[in-house]
Subunit: 427 residues, 3 copies
């Protein structure tokens, strides 16, 4: 349970807020590469951390992420023409390059140097792993480029999607490190989802619905360990990775791909739910990739040409009360992603954490909040928060069988670090 | 005319408001029985007096009305699975019985008694006359079950419906005790509606458009008497019943059924308009019941599977300007219920009563407001408001012909009390 | 660049605001004549300067513009029946004449004179040039009827339309006196629009994209002169008329009609964009009139039976990225009117003028603001603002070729005044 002030501190990310400053200290996923598919393609509106931005890809392939509005009289550059290494406002022809520098004002005499003095706020935008990343903090504190394993493997080994969620980022992230709800909410997926079904691990998940949690601090965040009963006094361990502030990675099952999420605030009542799947040592099979595109596994079916889910609050998330009654689907909502999203949206856009009752299985959530509070305090003293260093990002989730007296931290130490060519630890 | 403060006092019903406290001292209609048609059927969201609640019917037929959100992390229990005498949240499987008591937390050790200490806010929900009633006040002040005649007769003798209205409860209720507007707004119904047309009373209504009002306090509210000219110095009297805070009953016509309304605040800008029809001594005929279901009489045609009217502000209430021009329908809007609703919504969600001009025919409204103000004052001293006692609810509206020197209060004394087997007084 | 306070001063026009008072000192276009096509036709809701009004045309052809809501209990008179020289509220039959005087209250005794004491707020509404004009200021300060040339010529010589715009009036008006953007934003129209294409003037427009501005005060506002290079040291001059507060007139081209706009605040975030076309000495040709109705030239295609554009923010203004890429249309949006509207709406409902960068081509805008500020100051001292006198309204825009040393003010002096039968100055 948080105080009202604590809840506000964690959930508000506008410019000038402490949590907004923290988010602005990382490389954040801003767009899918497919949104800017070629040089001189149309610009795309981007809203992150309550800032209105415009992204474009110039004639030479440079990516730009600028303040959305023309410096002259405030027209949205979404109407801009992307031409000859710049975005030109169609109102009076002012033109900006990918750094936000104004390079031409047709109505002004060229010799005054007026255009040179006009520069839009802009942020670096780089491509890595099929995703365009931005860093919105002070230039002199820019961290190294991101090195999450899912963007460092070959393109054939990875897949990412994004979808709009009508909630604050925090309650989405808290769902992501909540290893306990899978047995309830996503039980159906362990039976039927083409990217989850019929694994030994899934069986343990379904059998023991009272996992015991063991959460340990990691260099960049937390190892959220959940222990379930297996055969003969052994335990089935699932260790979720959490890296501050909003990277999560779900433990794998069988030979399926590894997966996880990024939750990026759009504003305080909306976030992008980024979902990735990858395998460290093999290609994603065509039928797997097809299933991901169709919204199976942790991905979500969206309206064509958009990143807006087909199932929404307005259509009651297409709930199927018959399937719920028969026990086929616990909530009656289809799909892992929408199961999470529907429940999280039902909490209200910013859940009231002054009126919650956390239990032992929420240990990951409790410790993640504490970690963020501590990092916010440290930032006041000029310290950088965890999760910025590449080594903080070289993480993997893991699932493994251990005997009763084995400590997961030791036993899984290697499995929890990303290492090129190393097989994932999975059951 | 009210002051701004008086208007706020009467129209605000959130928890903690004086008017909210008054509403919370009664049994209020919360749902139609048909909304929870069988044991273990899907739960239903209910919003009353600005509180978000969830209603369900358990495996043994008990009705529950609980806080909508799971105590754990705030998920809406609308997604809950109704199973084995409880509603189970699909996120982590927390289960609640119909009293709001948490009976299972699967992830927690059973012996800690943690679940026993979790109880959602809940209100009693009982069935009477095909309607589910709730009492949202302090348990030790719960009044006896409601005894309105329309819920005490046999099911074959009664019919009820509800519809959403986009206004505060008060301007809806004020329409309900306004016996003067029928001659104008609903004139067409007296000619053509299958549940109103061609009665002697209707004729008097249409002929004399300047009724004289005589309003008298009753044990639970008001007798709103309206006198119109009849033959040979006689008067046609219509006496509307008003019982505090929001029960109204329209005087009957010919052999048709008796009818009236309850207006229940959803929040301060929406209310449920409950409409009932019944006959104290005979069954409702099949063709009458069919007409009521189709939205004739005081009922309203709703979108299939909902309680939302087909005619809305967005479609201009399907106004027919030709019928208005020809004089067939005064406002051009079809149906008694939508005629009222459309005009009341056009006043704005909460009408500005600092800028009204009441006249003698508004005497019922003026006295009803005074009565509520007095009751609110009395509540400060610990007194209960009128309308809670069963005898306050044993009322009937009446229509009768009286000679010029007859006092309606005496002449209609018996007719204004509900009495099993007694014929209604109607013209 | 303005301060926040200055921006608020110019953009807020509710009752009681200084800018609202200024707008209320003029005859403003309120409805198209076609909206009240015949005596006793249905009434029409009108919102101007944040006031909710109802317009109707009585049995004798008088126009009324009244407070929208019945004085009794606040019902919208949009539901009123227009009958026998009055609008009758359908709730209780109160009836008002076109001056707002209550002429009948059926439920009240006639001899009390109560109705005589009820009068709705009302404004004069007169027809001139196919447009209904209202004056919303103090009756004793009512100016003479409007005498803009487009409403003084024969009906065959003029055409007007209106469309909703989702912005404050000021950023719309500022687009109207911005003679520089045509070369960019509307370049396509100079090639293809049936009401603009292929003129000598258009060619100069397209060739010289850096016009030099010369802005001079006129009796009622400004002459916004823009000079572009023509042959042999000559200049192509375009002189836009601006009359305080929101009348603008675009310089003509070739033999086409003259045209311009009125921008009338609905509330602070919406305005009506009025667009007119006329010719001082000839009829509008049938094919021209047809093109105007279809939304060509400065007019806009609206949804049938409404004044709401087909192209909206929700459908991305039907932007055609292919046509933008090919250079056929600078912004990709079809039509002069929607090109302006889409960009102006993209600035946000009230553009933030504390964060703009005006340049020399914005001289008209800068001087117009100053003129309004000065007029607002003068109003404090009891002076009337410019633009109210008929002679202030006898203006015409003009386009002409001048030699390098010619002063446009002298050379165009006659051309800039409307004079019956005089040919327009156009190139």
């Amino acid at each position: 349970m948080l105080t009202k002030e604590q809840n506000a501190l964690l959930t508000q990310t506008e410019p000038g807020t402490p949590m907004g400053d923290m988010f602005r200290s990382y490389w954040l996923p801003a767009l899918l590469g497919e949104e800017l598919p070629e040089n001189d393609c149309p610009p795309v509106r981007v809203q992150i951390l309550s800032e209105h931005l415009i992204a474009f890809r110039d004639s030479e392939g440079n990516y730009g992420l600028l303040n959305e509005f023309c410096a002259h009289r405030g027209v949205s550059l979404w109407f801009g023409r992307n031409e000859h290494c710049g975005l030109r406002c169609p109102y009076h022809g002012w033109k900006y390059d990918h750094t936000g520098q104004c390079v031409e004002i047709p109505s002004e005499p060229k010799d005054t140097g007026f255009a040179d003095r006009i520069k839009l706020k802009s942020y670096p935008l780089i491509e890595r792993g099929g995703i365009l990343w931005t860093y919105m903090g002070p230039p002199d504190q820019q961290p190294p480029y991101p090195e999450w394993e899912f963007i460092m493997v070959e393109p054939e080994q990875t897949f990412a999607s994004k979808r709009l969620q009508g909630t604050n980022w925090l309650q989405a992230m808290e769902g992501g490190i909540d290893s306990s709800h899978v047995s309830w909410l996503h039980g159906d997926a362990l039976h039927h989802d083409p990217l989850f079904k019929n694994t030994k691990g899934g069986e343990y998940n379904l059998k023991d619905k009272a996992p015991v949690f063991d959460v340990i601090e990691s260099p960049g965040g937390l190892y959220v360990g959940a222990r379930r009963k297996a055969e003969e006094g052994n335990y089935y361990w699932r260790i979720t990775q959490y890296v501050v502030p909003s990277f999560t990675m779900i433990p794998p099952r069988g030979d399926y791909t590894l997966h996880g999420h990024f939750w990026v605030p759009i504003d305080d009542t909306h976030c992008w739910a980024w979902s990735y799947d990858y395998h460290p040592t093999r290609k994603i099979k065509p039928e797997e990739r097809e299933a991901m595109k169709e919204g199976r596994g942790i991905h979500v079916k969206c309206k064509p040409g958009t990143y807006l889910p087909v199932a929404t609050k307005e259509n009651d998330y297409l709930i199927d009360r018959e399937k719920q009654k028969s026990g086929a689907i616990a909530s009656g909502v289809e799909g892992i992603g929408m199961q999470d999203a529907s429940l999280q949206e039902s909490m209200g856009a910013i859940v009231d954490r002054t009126d919650e009752h956390l239990v032992s299985s929420d240990k990951g959530i409790i410790m993640a909040r504490r970690m963020i509070f501590r990092a916010l305090e440290a930032m006041k003293e000029g310290e950088m928060p965890p999760g910025r260093k590449p080594e903080d990002q070289h993480v993997r989730s893991a699932a493994l069988l251990l005997s009763g007296d084995q400590n997961f931290e030791e036993a899984a130490a290697e499995a929890l670090r990303a290492k090129k060519g190393m097989e994932p630890a999975t059951v």
